[in-house]
């Protein structure tokens, strides 16, 4: 199963052989193994992980909005951003969360802004969580 993971700013994987991929899909976490039914879905902010063939450990990345397409012999993932655990800056992540939370608490926001800020919080929290998997 070939997997491609790209963002506008970098290429993380192109055509890598993978055994198992788990993504934060539109309807909740989605695990994709060999022979998965063809599927098109959008991805939420969260942590995705994948296992390269022959390796015994998962690799992790935090993604914000993304698009995932499963076809018979591979997966294409286009993510808006994708941070590997080693890219995460904990103090930055924490300050993003704090700022966003402060705004969520203080201002009366319209739906779009509310969703944006919630996404920022989620991205920050996922970033902090993903650093646990740093190798």
């Amino acid at each position: 199963m070939k997997m491609t993971l790209v963002t506008p700013e970098k290429r993380i994987l192109t055509g890598a052989d993978v055994e198992s991929v788990t993504v934060p899909a539109f309807r909740g976490e989605l695990n994709i193994l060999e022979g998965h039914t063809p599927l098109v879905t959008t991805l939420d902010t969260g942590i995705m992980r994948w296992k390269v063939k022959g390796s015994d450990r998962f690799q992790y990345a935090v993604i914000s909005w993304g698009y995932c397409e499963v076809y018979p012999n591979g997966i294409d993932i286009l993510a808006e951003t994708a941070d590997l655990p080693e890219d995460v800056n904990l103090t930055d992540a924490q300050s993003f969360i704090d700022k966003a939370k402060a705004r969520l608490a203080a201002e009366s926001l319209n739906d779009a802004d509310y969703a944006d800020l919630s996404r920022v919080v989620k991205r920050g929290e996922s970033s902090i969580e993903v650093t646990k998997f740093k190798n």
Binding site: P8, E9, R11, A25, R27, P38, V40, T41, Y67, L78
Partner: protein, 293 residues
């Protein structure tokens, strides 16, 4: 006639300038490399995105307001991409001239023509001509990020979808190579994917009938189009930045060469003058000695 001392000072100052231009050239070269990397890294994402949109839109027969072509265009929003800094040859002048010509040619035809300037140079140029932009954005060259581009894109989408404009045009320098770039005017909105020419390429075999869509195809296309548009803006910004560094590199290269030529000429004059002086002194001594005999 300049004295020896004057020429020496002039040579020294030209050398200083040459060193500055050389340093600037090196800086631009490394920035150019970074900008080029940016473009290369974006390509797979851009290609997949485009392919996916056309696949989904064609197989699922999805139409979207962003893709609808207008029959009549009366209200145009023009985005002009320039740089914040000068010293890059005709880079900004070309853009400004193009935009000015566009105004002259289309002012009478259009009901409404507004501008957004990205980069200080364009903003200043049109400020002198009493054109106030809808918005102006600076600080592009420092950090060209997808985030900034998608913010701009979101605002453009807002203007377009609210019906204030029929068309959004973008004028920027397309990056060809380190030494060449040309002015391009693109229609950003409505999005034209060139679907008619695309349909032959669409690999419908990959899209089986029981393909699962989460959420619905319409919603997927909607989200993808927004991202696609953001990416277009990001791509043009990256191209413009790369072209700017390329242009500056060439300009600085030329300046360094000119300085070198100047130094050579001046050194020649300096040596000639020095020799003349020595000869005069020798003649004076010799003729003095002759007179004493």
């Amino acid at each position: 006639m300049a004295s020896l001392k004057d020429i020496r000072a002039q040579i020294a100052s030209t050398k200083n300038t040459q060193q500055i231009t050389k340093a600037l050239k090196l800086v631009s070269a490394s920035k150019l490399r970074k900008a080029q990397n940016n473009i290369v890294n974006m390509r797979p994402y851009a290609l997949s995105l485009r392919r996916v949109i056309s696949d989904v839109a064609v197989t699922q027969k999805v139409a979207h307001p962003l893709m609808g072509q207008r029959t009549e265009v009366n209200k145009v929003l023009m985005v002009v991409l320039t740089s914040d800094r000068g010293l890059c040859g005709a880079f900004n002048t070309n853009i400004n001239k193009f935009a000015e010509k566009y105004i002259r040619d289309n002012k009478a035809r259009l009901q409404k023509l507004d501008f957004i300037f990205v980069g200080k140079k364009g903003f200043e140029f049109f400020q002198k001509r009493n054109i106030t932009p809808l918005e102006s954005i600076t600080g592009l060259d420092k950090d060209i990020s997808y985030k900034l581009a998608s913010q701009v894109a979101d605002r453009l989408l807002g203007y377009f979808l609210s019906g204030e404009y029929d068309e959004v045009q973008l004028v920027y320098n397309e990056f060809k190579s380190a030494i060449s770039h040309n002015v391009v005017c693109e229609t950003l909105l409505p999005i034209n994917l060139g679907l008619s020419s695309f349909s032959d390429e669409v690999n419908t075999a990959r899209f089986s009938k029981d393909l699962v869509f989460e959420p619905s195809p319409e919603e997927v296309v909607e989200q993808l189009l927004t991202k696609h548009f953001g990416l277009q803006v990001y791509r043009s910004m990256s191209e413009s930045v790369a072209a700017e560094h390329g242009a500056r590199m060439t300009a600085m290269e030329n300046a360094s060469n000119n300085a070198k030529e100047l130094i050579n000429k001046m050194t020649l004059t300096y040596n000639k003058l020095r020799q003349e002086k020595i000869t005069t002194e020798l003649i004076e001594i010799v003729s003095g000695a002759e007179a004493l005999k």
